[in-house]
Amino acid sequence: MKKPLIEVKELNLKFVSFEGIAHILDNVSFKIYGREIFGLVGETGCGKSVTALSIIRLLPKNSIIEGSIIFDEKNLLDFPEREMAKIRGRQISMILQDPTSSLNPMFKVGEQLCDAIKSNQPNRKDVKDYALELLKVLGFRESKRVFNSFPNELSGGMQQRIAIAIALSGEPKLLIADEPTTALDVLTQAQIVALLKDIRDKYGTSILLITHNLGLVAEVCDRVGVMYSGQIVETGPTEEIFYNTRHPYTLGLLQALPYNKPKDKPLPVILGNLPNPFNPPKGCRFKERCSRATKECENLKPKPYLISQEHSVACFNPLGDIIC
């Protein structure tokens, strides 16, 4: 049995606010192995980004977190802030959705990259050479010119590549990419995706890819977790999820994809909205939008169970073997 690089176990997260307690994550568990790209998919507001922020421990102050995040045989949630600061950048790093606001507008990108290198590899002497080398790895041909540019002189795709360079400056074992291509055009998206794959192949970095783009997942991810309303409803190898779909929500997502569909008919959609996090429904959280819901779903919470060695699903009435 392979040992996972990081294991998130029964993560529960609540936000305390004036309106009450919002239940954001409910028993979220998943593993990411070495050299693996793990995709976390789900609609906006289902808790994907918050899961990432939990791992890197940058949640807002009003959050209450329970469970464990085992990284390198230690629980990150037990780490004091001082220790955690040493993990960030050197072991786990993160790129954000909007590259145009990720970089500080006041400083040249080269300076920011060098500061990241100096912070994460304090003993390094050839900081500038290393920075230029990183820029070359990320596909910048004129790395010197880019080094001396301010962020607003570069395109969104270039800014995202700089952000990736900064995230790689400490040679981390895990890179969290929170919707890295959402703000970019299609061609640039493909470029960034290819780059992420390259990085995994070259450095062996595991990647947690957060996205709502199933096409992207099919292209690069080894395994996938499907999230709905703060829960992981189905997880398994990408092929299993796509060709042996079990959860009705996953199926709904797949059916809403525009590929290979007749052009004259409207796309199928999942009706309804996400449940209110301040008052989550009893039983299955997806029941109100699910065509297969039964009495059982009304009151009991479905627990994830394995249907094959790596494929697990949390549903009382999973789909059968032959779908699509």
Partner: protein, 341 residues
């Protein structure tokens, strides 16, 4: 960079226009006010002949527009006219009084810059903690305490009760007698050092402490509040979260990446308070018997000594305009987005 040069030229032309209009308006206003400059010039006991001679000497017999043109041409030659009270060239008087004011104003604003940034940053980093509340209390106090009251209070404490600092003036009598300063620049601290007169330098500093502190209270409060609110805003920015997530050292994040973004508005406010204090510090100057430009201005206004009023106005305007220009250039230097527009 070519665009920056043309921007600079445009700004300088605009600044000169502002200066011209201010001079014109002040000239008109000071001549509309009912008074008799010639009588002021010769004094109450003068004879009629003396008075008529003065009218011709001052050019008061000519129509107003001729006086105005003469004044403007005089300005171009560096002649600010003659004071009606003292019969001395106005430029000379201003050059005597200005360094005294600049000395306390510069020191006060340097103090304000450092303390304000320090307090503001610390306060933002400790947001909603005890330290934050304390600093906010102090900064609100700083902007709302009347300066003359605070000046009297400091005199009472440090001169009256503790007796460790001098009451007023720029130098003590002993120093004036035994270690006199040879005036070079008019800044006593600089001059005493240039003279190699160390006891006088220390005496200068002792006299500077109270007025500079009192003048600094307002800008300290101002800068603290500005830096705090900007820092709080900047610390929520995506790029700060990104830097944190990728292991940037804490010092870098707070004191380089966040502070640089939070600094510009504070510098703007400080620049304006600096320009204001050049002529507006008279309450503090009067209480500390400080022979500065504020006192000079008030006396000139009270006696309707219009060449002096005009002279002071011109100097004040030059400071305002120059500081604004300087701040804009500084902002372009700090923030590349401004530079590239």
């Amino acid at each position: 960079m070519a665009s920056f040069k043309s921007y600079l030229v445009r700004r300088i032309v605009l600044a000169l226009l502002v200066l011209y209009f201010v001079i014109t308006i002040t000239f008109i206003l000071s001549h509309v006010v009912p008074s008799d400059p010639a009588e002021l010039y010769v004094g109450p006991k003068a004879t009629k002949e003396q008075r008529e001679k003065a009218i011709i000497e001052l050019g008061l017999d000519k129509p107003l527009y001729v006086q105005y043109i003469n004044y403007i041409f005089g300005l171009l030659k560096g002649d600010l006219g003659t004071s009606l009270r003292a019969h001395t060239p106005v430029l000379h008087d201003i050059l005597v009084y200005l360094p005294a004011t600049l000395e306390i104003v510069v020191i006060a604003n340097i103090i304000a810059l450092f303390i304000g940034i320090l307090f503001g940053t610390f306060s933002a980093l400790k947001k909603d903690h005890l330290e934050d509340h304390l600093i906010r209390f102090i900064s609100v106090g700083g902007v709302s305490i009347p300066s003359f009251w605070f000046a009297l209070l400091t005199q009472l404490i440090f001169f009256g009760i503790l007796g460790i600092l001098p009451l007023d003036g720029r130098l003590s009598t002993e120093t004036q007698l035994f270690n006199p300063i040879k005036t070079i620049t008019g800044f006593y601290t600089v001059d005493s050092l240039l003279n190699g007169n160390f006891p006088a330098f220390l005496d200068c500093l002792r006299h500077l402490i109270l007025p500079a502190t009192v003048l600094a209270t307002y800008p300290i409060g101002l800068v603290t509040r500005m830096v705090r609110s900007m820092m709080v805003e900047v610390l929520n920015e995506n790029y700060i979260r990104f830097a944190k997530a990728n292991g940037f050292r804490e010092n870098l994040i707070y004191y380089k990446y966040a502070l640089r973004n939070a600094l510009t508005p504070a510098l703007m406010a400080l620049g304006l308070s600096f320009a204001y204090s050049i002529t507006g510090a008279f309450l503090v100057e009067v209480i500390f018997s400080w022979p500065g430009l504020g006192t000079y201005t008030v006396n000139a206004i009270l006696e309707n000594d219009y060449p002096s009023i005009l002279g002071v106005t011109i100097v004040g305007t030059i400071f305002y305009v120059a500081i604004n220009l300087l701040l804009d250039i500084l902002q372009a230097y700090i923030d590349p987005r401004v530079r590239l527009q």
